[in-house]
């Protein structure tokens, strides 16, 4: 069995900067502490300057996860700012006036710790894991880079090549590129459909004043959430946070509102010729958004039933019974203002039409006849299990809190499993009828051929 966790980022942890691209691929809604969680509830506090502090005591290991979540990402960029959020993600760990280039990496790795960062449309995320005794050092580094980044001109210039390489890497990988292309086709002209990495032209012409202006505008205390998970005492963390993040200053501008998520009625289509031998099919429907939409539970369960693992409907029908695809998956990516359910398959080019028709058939079946109680129960257990595996590590738990804080709310997160368990088969069928039609999806196909 090749069962699949929905977290698409875990596979690339060894290549830190890849996480930048990965942020855009995040493919599961927040999962929350329910009856299975062996941890106390997190404490959420707001410092005097507006910095949100979330602390969770978690005594699984002698390491602490310290994460800075910025309420800024791809969706905050104007057309001539594309890629700036992501470029900041690359530049921040490079240094400040008191921390020369390379010294932050050396410091953290010299503690035996790790650092990561990634950029999404709603947030930018900086992530450090260190021995619990070094919490203060980690917090000081994050507070320093959050307002004092130097943007050394040489570093800034040479990082461009790194970003170009990252673009190449995404374009060379058919699965990554399919996800990106599907998002572009489904969302345009909403900012969620723009390239997180920016364009080659914009990155090429990017200069220090423009980057610094964007940074100073968005990297202010009111846009910051600090999440700390580990063998810590909440009051101690609060005191340390007051001494570092509590001293930061800066006024927040209102977050600019984005246009409405476009309707996919009538469908959107795109075919791309690619060098791979096999073809790829991607289909995306507009689901429910992360913030304030009670349908997310039903859509989430429906996505599991459709495409999670070998027992799912799409696998059983398209791979096992019809033999039309080599692999097929469904994923549900929630953002603050949107949700997108994607079905992606790798297959022989000759099967493209039939596979698409078969996916629509499977959906038609669910709209007409619903799902079984057994399917519903299994999807709930899968969700519960995904959560349980996430909270094995401090950073996994911190990530779920940070995502919730920046795209929905911590309360939603904490009730997630309970709400999921209450969702009925009838609600799942209703969600299928509401969101999945025969002609309200974006479709991208990769067709083999010379590039």
């Amino acid at each position: 069995m090749r069962s699949r966790r929905l977290r698409s980022c875990t596979a690339v942890l060894a290549l830190p900067i890849l996480l930048a691209a990965c942020g855009a691929l995040r493919s599961s809604p927040p999962r929350a502490a329910g009856a299975t969680a062996a941890v106390p509830a997190p404490a959420r506090q707001v410092l005097g300057n507006g910095v949100v502090l979330i602390v969770q005591e978690h005594r699984a290991a002698d390491v602490v996860a310290v994460q800075l979540w910025m309420r800024v990402g791809g969706r905050d960029e104007s057309a001539d700012e594309l890629g700036l959020s992501h470029y900041l993600e690359h530049m921040l760990f490079k240094g400040t006036p008191t921390r020369p280039p390379g010294s932050i990496d050396a410091l953290l790795e010299g503690l035996g710790g790790t650092s990561n960062a990634f950029t999404s449309y709603d947030y930018t995320h900086f992530d450090v894991v260190v021995p619990a005794a070094d919490l203060g050092a980690a917090m000081d580094v994050l507070a320093d880079i959050s307002v004092n980044a130097s943007f050394d001109p040489t570093e800034l210039e040479s990082e461009k090549k790194v970003v170009f390489e990252e673009m190449n890497l995404v374009e060379d990988d058919p699965e990554k590129f399919l996800t990106r292309r599907l998002g572009e086709i489904a969302y345009a002209p909403h900012p969620y459909g723009r390239p997180i990495l920016g364009t080659r032209e914009l990155v090429k012409s990017l200069d220090r004043p423009r980057l610094a202006a964007y940074y100073h505008k968005h990297y202010v205390p009111r846009n910051m959430a600090l999440v700390v998970v580990g063998p810590v005492v909440t009051a101690d963390v609060r005191a340390q946070a007051e001494r570092s993040f509590g001293r930061l200053q800066g006024a927040a501008a209102e977050r600019a509102s984005s246009p409405a998520i476009p309707s996919l009625a009538g469908g959107r289509r795109d075919d791309v010729t690619r060098p791979e031998q096999q073809a790829y099919l991607g289909m995306a429907w507009d689901g429910a958004a992360a913030r304030g939409n009670a349908d997310i539970f039903a859509v989430d369960l429906l996505t599991y039933i459709l495409g999670d693992g070998p027992t799912s409907r799409l696998n059983q029908t398209l791979r096992e019974r019809l033999g039309l695809v080599a692999t097929i998956d469904a994923s549900y990516v929630t953002r603050e203002q949107s949700g997108i359910v994607s079905v992606t398959a790798r297959l022989d080019a000759a099967n493209l039409e039939r596979a698409e028709a078969a996916v629509l058939d499977v959906l038609r079946g669910i709209r007409a006849s619903g799902v079984t109680e057994a399917e519903r129960a299994r999807a709930v257990i899968t969700a519960e299990s995904n959560y349980a595996f996430d909270v094995e590590t401090a950073e996994g738990l911190a990530k779920s809190y940070g995502t919730a804080e920046t795209t929905s709310s911590l309360e939603d997160e904490l009730q997630y499993l309970a709400r999921l368990r209450e969702t009925t088969a009838a609600q799942i069928q209703a969600a299928a009828q509401k969101y999945f039609g025969d002609d309200n999806y974006a479709r991208v196909r990769f067709v083999p051929g010379a590039r």
């Binding site: 069995m1 062996a38 390379g102 190449n168 890497l169």
Partner: protein
Amino acid sequence: MTLHRLAIAGLLALVCTAPTVAAADAGVTRTRLDNGLTVIVRENPVAPVVAVALLVRMGTRWETPQTAGLSNFLHAVMVKGTAKRGGQELAEAVAALGGKMSAAGDVDYSGIQAAALARFWRELLGLTAELALEPRLAPEEVDREREWLLGRVQRRRDNAPSRAFDEYYATLYGAHPYAIPALGTTESLKRIDRAAIVAAYRTFYRPERMALAVSGQVSASEVLAEARRLFGGMTAGTSAADPPLPPPSNAGRRVVLEQVANQTQIVAGGLAPSLTQPDHAAAKVLSTVLGGGMAGRLFVELRDKSALAYTATSYYDPVREPGTLTLYLGTAPANAARAEEALVREIRRVQTQPVSDEELRRAKAYVLGRYAMDRRTNDRQAWYLAFYELEGAGLSYPERFRHDVEAVTVADVQRAATTYLAPLTTVVLGPRAPR
């Protein structure tokens, strides 16, 4: 697909975390059943989950170019059904536990890995046993999986980093079976039939060749009793000690291959000590000085300072027989020649100049920190426990490794560099060089 040589297929990610080590474990029990099967249990109350690894001494080490991929093929078919239930029922049974189960072949070992919500530990162990002891190996599933695997071989060739690593292993190991891709080749997969798969299963699935490790929110005594009930009836085999293989000889070749892609892949390295050899810790520290993280020399010099490469890292793969220390660059084709020169320059530097005390300290902390991080999940814990057992490293290995790493000196690193990074085998894979 957590078994590591196959994981190189994906994004090279698991490889660098797989073979490191850390602190001694409290709460671990190890028992050898009368028939030779080793059972290891780690009680871990942290999260409501349980993980199982059942590994068997079987893999490409015992394959030939004609049978390449046999171990992995067997495991691919195993998960498609048992005497009691077909593949779909099996998948449903696992899903009902909030579980996952996979089986794959690797280099020194192959096996089954599974995990589920802890309250279903007994069911999960039962399904693992069913898969291991009563696989159906149905002829029609053999044919279906062959098709699927052929697709994967094709896809792996399409993926430039995976292909570059396969070509590197083939060049470095030559006639030694470590040259064989765990996935097999188009030719070998077409040749392997059901009879070969059944024969391989009967030869290798013997209790004395197997280790079962369980980690999670469980009771060791309950797990042991259940393991005894499930596996105690296996008949011990008569498998003699594995015949020795001729040692691989690294000829230090440089191979250039063309593939349409935006990036050029450069893979270079040499043979390195196995897990249980005295130099293992020194080679691990050397690998970290060069390519460990963002403060590693390759990242600093080739990526940060000169932006000659996007990916610049190292992998040390300490398998049972000579392992390999590998340096890897992903770069723009226009920069490939200069990136390779810079890579060779860094190798010369670490061979001829001692590393600083601070660099050594950082590398050691990084190795031990990464090791501790990697062993926090039950999945990884179960895998490590079974893996160490099969590699002959033993339960005390983590503590020994920590000690060995702390003892590595500046001179050890330099000696490891001259010993293991010469001669250099290199594979360059990319689009035709621009004129």
